[in-house]
């Protein structure tokens, strides 16, 4: 059986895992499911996961992708971890504002700002 290619680029430094997306348009339900599964596996493999998700490559995302982010956020919270979102394009940030999810997530302009915001 052919292995499924990852939809993520993952880097771990110190105890923080940085994730970037391979896809520019996070619209396809199959890809969203795979992205969610991959990130949940990363969360489940750590005690108190610290996760930074960088959206610099993302031009579009769907409400299904937002739903997956919510699930990820809940899983991290349940494990006593921390989640940061960074580099969100202004048009996509507007989607977070319209859905009021900008209040749910900790969103930072840059990776550096996101990294600095983690509590030790």
């Amino acid at each position: 059986m052919a292995s499924v290619e990852s939809r993520l680029r993952v880097q771990t430094e110190d105890d923080i895992t940085r994730i970037e997306f391979v896809d520019r348009n996070i619209l396809d339900e199959g890809n969203i499911q795979q992205i969610g599964d991959e990130i949940l596996q990363i969360i489940d493999s750590a005690d108190r996961p610290k996760l930074l998700i960088c959206f610099s490559n993302v031009e579009h995302l769907s409400s299904a992708a937002l739903g997956t982010l919510i699930t990820i956020n809940k899983r991290i919270r349940d494990k006593g971890g921390q989640l940061r979102l960074t580099d969100i394009d202004p048009q996509i940030y507007e989607v977070f504002v319209i859905t009021k999810l900008n209040k749910l997530f900790q969103i930072h302009a840059t990776i550096d700002e996101g990294l600095a915001s983690f509590e030790s």
């Binding site: 409400s63 739903g67 997956t68 048009q91 009021k100 749910l104």
Partner: protein, 137 residues
């Protein structure tokens, strides 16, 4: 500027869905619409199709979803008929309410209404008409 239009029947095939989105965006660009319009159209069309296949044409053996669009320099109109049982769009819970904010679904209609100038449904709720007019709010 001539009116550009297309009409297709779609199954829940990501490649075909992507193709129709690209065709709409190409027509919009030809008609002089800008990138913010393209963003709005892609988002609204994707959400409406997702709703059609998730809540309307849920059975793989059911009729394909009918999608048609018309692009003019002053407006874009998209009509989607999923031939399903329909729903009451006014009965959808507010996904921005505190008690719903962590629900993983239920934001599609909100986003369609936010990005389109108007979103209307037929009486049974299985056909949605979305209109976009630049500067129309």
């Amino acid at each position: 500027m001539p009116v550009l239009s297309d009409s297709q029947q779609l199954t829940n095939d990501p490649d075909r869905i992507h193709a129709i989105e690209e065709k709409l965006l190409t027509a919009a660009k030809q008609a002089g619409h800008d990138s913010s319009t393209a963003f709005a159209l892609r988002l609204a069309l994707d959400e409406a199709l997702r709703n059609a296949f998730t809540h309307g044409a849920t059975d793989p053996s059911s009729q394909p979803v009918d999608v048609s669009w018309t692009v003019e320099s002053s407006r874009v109109t998209i009509v989607i008929n999923d031939h399903g049982p329909g729903f009451d769009p006014d009965a959808i819970a507010d996904p921005t309410a505190d008690e719903n904010i962590e629900r993983p679904c239920g934001r599609g209609l909100l986003l369609m209404r936010a990005y389109m100038t108007s979103v209307s449904h037929n009486k049974s709720g299985n056909t949605v008409t979305m209109r976009y007019e630049p500067g129309g709010g």
